[in-house]
């Protein structure tokens, strides 16, 4: 509110300003690059098979982002870039989702499909662990499994090292034994 009050009223966008761009000036106002469902599906399958995409998608899914949301975002972003229309994008949505779920399954991670009813999901799994909590619990497991009792050999080696580490005087005027 205070920020709005600070701004000059003349600098604000005029209502309807978004509609004043020249027709065809936006990518989605031009004919799409991929016109039919086959081309659109080929584009998505090719793109989603790249190693770079797989790594990123698996990271995002592991963060708890639902598959539905990720698929929607990808599809809408490509509509905005003028790659395909909304119609073909909506048709391709199930294939994109299935690909994402396949990536999640092959990476053997836990992901949210977004298809389940949230009320039933919350009763099944009330709190979804964040990545930090997951990492902390994994670290705790590693610590529990680790054997911190020093072995006898290690003790002897340490003693030898301590004996060797006698600091000799380095200055010119220092006495030498």
């Amino acid at each position: 509110m205070t920020r709005l009050a600070e701004e000059s009223s003349f600098d604000r966008p005029v209502p309807g300003m978004a509609l004043t761009a020249e027709l065809g000036g936006r990518p989605w106002q031009n004919p799409p690059q991929y016109t039919n469902i086959d081309e659109v599906l080929d584009f998505y399958v090719d793109r989603m098979s790249s190693e770079e995409f797989i790594d990123q998608a698996v990271d995002i899914l592991e963060m708890g982002v639902p598959v539905t949301m990720l698929a929607n975002t990808m599809q809408l972003a490509n509509v905005m870039e003028g790659l395909h229309t909304v119609d073909t994008g909506t048709l391709a949505l199930p294939v994109i989702m299935e690909m994402l779920m396949m990536l999640g399954d092959s990476a053997n991670i836990e992901y949210t499909s977004g298809l389940d009813n949230p009320s039933t999901l919350s009763s099944k799994n009330p709190t979804r662990k964040s990545l930090v909590a997951k990492a902390a619990s994994r670290y705790k497991d590693v610590l529990d499994e680790a054997d911190f009792e020093p072995s006898e050999d290690a003790d002897e080696e340490e003693l030898d090292e301590e004996e060797e580490e006698v600091i000799e005087p380095s200055g010119l005027m220092a006495r030498r034994g």
């Binding site: 039919n36 399958v45 539905t68 949301m69 929607n72 048709l91 294939v95 977004g114």
Partner: protein, 72 residues
């Protein structure tokens, strides 16, 4: 996006690939007087973009099921 209006959920749930009409093997007639093949009801219409998307989905689903079977 609200769950009710999410196009991804409705598109995925409506893609009923288990009950899709099966592809029929059409026997080509060799003679000139053979009957022209009619597109019978229940066979796949590959001019329909939904059917083409469903075929792709079916292939990926099959592969996904194989992955799940091997990991579980």
């Amino acid at each position: 996006m609200p769950r009710r209006t999410d196009p991804a959920i409705s598109a995925y749930n409506n893609m009923d690939i288990e009950n899709m009409p099966k592809e029929k093997q059409t026997v080509k007639s060799t003679g000139l007087l053979g009957r022209p093949s009619k597109s019978s009801e229940g066979s796949m219409d590959f001019n329909n973009p939904t059917i083409r998307a469903a075929k792709q989905l079916e292939a990926i689903r099959k592969y996904r099921n194989e992955i799940n079977d091997t990991t579980s």
